[in-house]
């Protein structure tokens, strides 16, 4: 029974999962999560330690470690690294097998990924020109409008005259909000406007990755700020939110690791067989 780990070194958090198989089926045994800080290696070990702890296992038992995320090359003890996009696709596919599109609303960059029925990345589009659709932007807006992030969703629902945000630069979009405020527009209408513009931009990205009638939403801020609802209303689609979706990338990395590992094994076995004869 193979034992391996996937570690996702994100810009703010580092997440790890410990994975094994159960009658050939991958199973998560433990999860760990720490702040990334400056030293990637340390954060990775810490997260891994947590995950192993939860699984009640010892590190030396691990056969294979796959790293992903911004700091993937910083994990000195990795066996392989893959990008967070590849990992997200595999992870989401494992959790929600029939999903065809993934939307990742990250800190500064929103990303849409179209995947095949095997969980392979078919096509992806990042919106790195316009961070006005990013998580950081909503956080700032909430801060400026003096509302808690988790209230944003509810408030925006009670809007009567949504005020769209047209600017395609996060900073100028902030000025726009400020202008709205000084024009006396209600917080609700502004928040709803932000949500709608954000959904529209995401929609444009998703069109380019051939989204059908559903998508899987990952990325922490997005969930808190009630964006899922906005997406459903605006784009008329089903939005899946995998449980503990922060770990999707770590999981995806682990799954790819498993692929490599089992691949290597069978190769090794066949070689062994040759020598046997």
């Amino acid at each position: 029974m193979p034992l391996l780990a996937g570690i996702d070194c994100g810009t703010s958090f580092t997440k790890a999962v410990v994975l094994s198989t159960d009658h050939g089926q991958p199973r998560v045994l433990g999860k760990g999560r720490t702040c990334s800080g400056v030293k990637v290696d340390e954060a990775a070990s810490a997260a891994l330690k947590q995950a192993l702890g939860e699984a009640g296992l010892d590190r030396h038992l691990l056969e294979y470690i796959a790293a992903t995320g911004f700091g993937r090359y910083g994990v000195s003890f990795r066996d392989i690294q893959v990008t967070e996009i590849t990992a997200a696709a595999r992870g989401a596919h494992f959790v929600i097998p029939d999903t065809t599109a993934i939307l990742d609303i990250g800190g500064q960059c929103t990303r849409a990924i179209g995947i095949t029925d095997t969980g392979r990345v078919k096509i992806f589009k990042s919106n790195d020109k316009c961070a006005a659709g990013s998580g950081m932007f909503i956080q700032r807006a909430a801060k400026y409008l003096e509302v808690k992030l988790e209230d944003v969703g509810e408030l925006s629902l009670s809007a009567t005259h949504p005020q769209p945000i047209s600017s395609v630069c996060a900073v100028l979009a902030e000025s726009e909000i400020i202008n709205h405020v000084s024009a006396g527009i209600t917080v609700q209408d502004i928040l709803r406007g932000i949500h709608e513009s954000l959904a529209d931009r995401a929609g444009a990205l998703l069109k380019r990755v051939e989204m059908k009638s559903e998508l899987t939403l990952i990325g922490g801020v997005a969930r808190q700020a009630g964006i899922a609802r906005a997406l459903e209303d605006r784009l008329k689609i089903k939005v899946n939110i995998p449980k503990d979706c922060d770990f999707i990338c770590a999981l995806g990395a682990a799954l790819l690791g498993l692929k490599r590992l089992t691949g290597k094994r069978s190769a090794a076995e066949s070689v062994a067989r040759e020598y046997a004869n």
Partner: protein, 382 residues
Amino acid sequence: MFSELFERTFDNCSALHFPSVREWKLADPGRKVIAYFPVYAPVELIHAAGMLPVGLSGAGDRLDIQHADARFGSFICSIVKTTLEMGLAGHLEPFDGFLFSTICDSARNLCFVMKRNFPQMYVDFLHLPHNPSSPAAAQFLAEEYRRILTELERLGGEVDDGALHRSIALYNGNRALIRELYQLRSRSPQQVPTSELYQLIRLGNFLPVEQHTALLEATLAEFQSRNTKPRDSIRIVVEGSFCEQPPLTLIRLVEDAGCYIVDDDFVIGQSWFESDVPTEGDPLLTLAKSYLDRSVYSSVRHDFRKPRWDGLVDKVRRNQAGAVLFLIAKFCEPAYFDYVPYKQELDRAGIPHLQLEFEEKSFTFDRLRTEIETFVESLVFD
């Protein structure tokens, strides 16, 4: 090691103050140096006039833009700004003239902004025909070349047909070698790393053609003698960097991510003829005809007889490439536009592709690296 030699030569040549150019001038101060903006420039005319043609290809990350931003504002590509900045910062002092051409709207306006800011220089604008199907085009271009040659003669003295023919022959030889290098790379990319070939070709921007040709020969031999073992990589064609040039690091990054670049349009101006220009007859007319019928396609050359998108699909097939990587300079409108028909034709032909944006001056690539690696991973993992 060969590649180190490159980098030294490359760094030396492309240094902000153009040391190799100053050397050349120092050897005989009477001689003139004419800088040309990418992409298509009639270097033969400049060479025949006894001058050194130098390709301006921006300043990479070597220069902070301090003045040019104020002149060109937002939404304008970097090479336009760095070129003006080099001038305003005094780095273009060794040049006697600048030659621009009809490649894009920003570059054209740059020509006249340069004219205003450097009145003592010879600044000229070459109109390359956009209507090759017109029987009148060749004659027009020949006369356009004549006009420019007359200006050059005013700077450097009489030029006869013999001299023009000799220059044409020299550049024919140079380009033939470049074609051979490209073919070798396509046959066995492991022997010809693009990061090296790229520098080699770019050196043609700075070095006198005679020197460059010699260097090409030497390098070709060196490449042929290598027996590097192939890596597990995907064969790709790079498209879109015909004018502003990507940082070397980015090209390395593409290779490290597991790609063999088997064809590209880097520094396209150095290899803009698909076959030799005839060396008899009226040299200006043959050059003109060659531009119309013999020059390689690019996003800044318009010929509605043969669409560029066919050119790309063709290129992919010819090189048995598995994918296309669009490396597009930020705010390069011609490249942005062509991406659409290119994309449509590639999709139709079932050829996977990825579009990335760069700036000559960028030097952190985490975002791009993630996307390139994902692209490769999506092609290798089942």
